[in-house]
Amino acid sequence: MMTMATKPGTSHPALFDGVVAKNVSICSEHFRLTIDCPPGVTDALNLARAGQFVHLAPPRGEAEGAAGGNMGTSSCPVPLLRRAFSIAGLRDSLSDGHFSGGGRQFDVMYRVVGTGTRWLSGLRAGDALSVMGALGNGFPISDTKRHAWLVAGGVGLPPMLWLAEALGDAVTIGDTTAAGKVDREVVAFAGARSVDLLALTVDDPSVVSRDAGVASLGAKEFADVGARVVIATDDGSLGFHGHVAGAMGEYYGQADVQTDDLVVYTCGPEVMMRAVAEFCVARSIECHVCMERAMACGTGTCQSCVVAVQDESATDGWRYELCCDDGPVFDAERLVWG
C-alpha cells in the first residue's frame, strides 16, 4: 500500500513499505541501514533534502490495518510509534535491488539506545519496514557563501554526511556564467566520546591532526565528497582532545574567514548545538541547527515536539514551533534555549 502526497513546503511525504538492502555495523553501537524504495515514490524522494527525516515502523499488517505494537516476540519487542531518523544519503538502488524497475535507496545511521533502534538492528536484507517521509524541512543551502562548516556530535553525523554531499555537488557557487568561479570550502567537525564511537571510516589515523586548526582528508565519507574534516574526541583517542564545539572555536581562531562568507550547520547533542549556535550568533555568523525532540506523529498533528523560538508579537517574547513540521532545521538566531 502506498499513499502519495502533495504537502506544501519542502516535504512531500509518502507512506510506503521499503525493503532493507543492507544493515551493517559501522562502529560499536552505530549501524548504517540502507532501504530500497518502490519506483512509485521516486518523485517524492527526489524532493528530499539533507536535514529532512524519515519516520520508520514495522511493516503495516495487510488489509487489517494492524498497527505495530503487537508486542513482538519476547526476545525482540517492536515499537508502537514510529521512530525518526535523519536521511544520511539518497541514490539509485543497485540493479539487483529489491524492486524491479529501479527506484531509489536511502541510508539512515542509528545508534542503538532502546526498543526501536534494537528492532532496527535486528533487520536483515530483504526485510520490509514501513517508511513515512521525507518529513520536515532541509538545511538551506547558501549559494553565495564560500565557507560551509558542518559541526556534528555523536549521532548528529548522519544528516551532515548527506549535506556534505549536497554541498559538494553544488561546489561552484556564485554566478556560474561569470569568469571568476569560486569553489566552496566544506569542513566537517565530527565529535565523539571516543574513537570507537566515531561513525566514520578513518583508514590512516596518523593523517588526523591533534591540532583543531588543521583539517585533513582523513575521514573517507567526507573526503569522497571533497570535504576536509576535524575530528574531536572527549577522551583524546583520536584528533583534538575535547569537545567538537571547542574544536570549531579553535579552527575559527586560526582560519582566515570573513564571518559574512561563512555558514555553519550543526546537529548533535543539545549542549553542543547550543555552544555552536551561541558562538555563531555572537559573531553574526549564519547558523542552522538541526533540533531533536521526542516525536509521536512526525507530521505536525500531535504537538509533541515543541521547540521554543523568539516571537516579538508574543507578550513574553517567545512561542513554540514544531520540530517535525516547522523544523527540524532552525535558524540559530531564532532559538530560545532552555
Binding site: 507512506l15 508486542m71 507530521t299 498533528t301
Partner: protein
C-alpha cells in the same frame, strides 16, 4: 471455447461476496448526526484536518474531530510531552492551541469544505468559558457537534468534573441552554471509580452523545536520572494498552445507563483495526474513534471501513448499526 464449470463457481462466488460487501450499509445515526461510516478521529490526534491530508482522504471519514479549542491561546506544557510505554504512550500536551479566534479564522475555512460532520473538542476553565466557546461554534454551520473535554488529565487548572457529578451536570446543562443547533457530546474520563455515575450526570445535564474514554492518568520514570520521563511529570495513557479498559467502560455505560436513555456512545481507546472497532460496537458503541494509531498509520480509518464490510458480509449482516450492543450473554 471450453468453460470448466468448477472454475466459474469460485469466481462467481467471489463476485457475489464482493457485491454483498458493497451492499453493507456502514452508515450510523447518532442522535440525528448521520455519518456515512462509524469511524472518526480522536480529538488531539489529527490536528485540525490538513495535517493528515497527504495520507488520508479526510472526507472519507465518518466524522472529523478537532484538537481541543479553548477561549484564549495556550502554549501547553514544556517538552518532552510524549513518551512511549509498553503498548501505548503517555502524553502531556496541555491543551496547546491557538484559541477560539484563531480557530475560527484559520481552521474553519478548511473544515467547512470537508462535507462530513465536524466535531470541535472544547475545553475551558469554568462553565462560562465552555459556554462562550460553544456559543461561538454553534454559529458556524459546518460544525455539527461540540465535544466537551471535561476529562483532560494534563492541565493543572482542569476542573475535576470527573468526580464532582453535580458540577458536571450543571456544566452540561449550562452549555445545553446556550447551544441551539450543534449536538452536545460529553467526553468521559476513565479516571473515576464509577464511570456510570459520571455518564448519568452528563445525561441528566442534557448530553446528547457520550464519548469515551479519554486517556488514563499515568507516569513513567527514568531510573538512571531519577527524573520523570515527561516534563509535566504525569500524563495520559493511550494506545492498545488501554483498549480492554475502554471496552469494559463502554460496556458498563451502555448496559447500565446509555441504552435506557437512548444516548449513543462514541467508543475509543486503543483502536488499531476493524476487529477492535467491532469489539467496541459489540460492547455498545454506535461509532468509534481512532486516536494514537493514526500516528503510526493515518490510513487506518479507511482500512477499518473495508474490514468492517468484509466482516459484516461474512456474518450475513447488511447494516452496521445492528452490531451495537450485540454482545452475547
Amino acid at each position: 471455447m471450453l468453460v470448466v464449470m468448477s472454475d466459474l463457481k469460485p469466481e462467481h462466488q467471489k463476485q457475489k461476496q464482493k457485491q454483498q460487501e458493497q451492499d453493507v450499509d456502514l452508515s450510523v445515526d447518532l442522535a440525528g448526526m448521520v455519518m456515512a461510516n462509524p469511524v472518526m478521529t480522536g480529538s488531539g490526534t489529527s490536528g485540525y484536518g490538513p495535517e493528515y491530508a497527504p495520507f488520508l482522504e479526510i472526507a472519507s471519514l465518518g466524522a472529523f474531530v478537532t484538537k481541543a479549542v479553548t477561549p484564549g491561546e495556550r502554549k501547553g506544557n514544556p517538552p518532552p510531552r510524549t513518551v512511549e510505554t509498553a503498548g501505548g504512550m503517555l502524553n502531556a500536551i496541555g491543551l496547546a492551541n491557538g484559541g477560539l479566534e484563531r480557530f475560527l479564522s484559520d481552521k474553519v475555512p478548511y473544515l467547512s469544505e470537508l462535507g462530513i460532520p465536524v466535531i470541535v473538542n472544547v475545553a475551558g476553565r469554568d462553565p462560562d468559558e465552555y459556554a462562550m466557546v460553544c456559543r461561538a461554534l454553534d454559529e458556524v454551520p459546518c460544525i455539527t457537534g461540540v465535544e466537551l473535554n471535561v476529562s483532560c488529565p494534563n492541565v493543572s487548572d482542569g476542573l475535576d468534573y470527573g468526580t464532582d457529578h453535580a458540577r458536571l451536570e450543571s456544566l452540561v446543562a449550562h452549555v445545553r441552554r446556550d447551544v441551539k443547533r450543534a449536538k452536545v457530546i460529553v467526553k468521559l474520563s476513565p479516571n473515576v471509580t464509577d464511570i456510570t455515575a459520571t455518564a448519568r450526570a452528563a445525561i441528566n445535564g442534557g448530553a446528547e452523545i457520550l464519548s469515551l474514554i479519554n486517556t488514563l492518568a499515568g507516569m513513567a520514570i527514568n531510573v538512571n536520572t531519577f527524573r520523570p520521563m515527561l516534563a509535566n511529570r504525569t500524563g495520559g495513557l493511550s494506545g492498545p494498552a488501554i483498549k480492554p479498559v475502554a471496552v469494559c467502560m463502554v460496556h458498563k455505560v451502555y448496559s447500565k445507563v446509555a441504552r435506557e436513555h437512548g444516548v449513543p456512545i462514541i467508543g475509543m481507546g486503543g483502536i488499531q483495526n476493524w476487529r477492535d472497532a467491532a469489539e467496541f460496537m459489540l460492547a455498545g458503541a454506535s461509532a468509534v474513534a481512532v486516536g494514537t494509531a493514526l500516528f503510526v498509520d493515518p490510513t487506518i480509518p479507511n482500512q477499518i471501513c473495508g474490514g468492517l464490510r468484509t466482516y459484516l458480509a461474512g456474518k450475513g449482516m447488511s447494516r452496521l448499526c445492528e452490531l451495537t450492543g450485540m454482545l452475547a450473554n
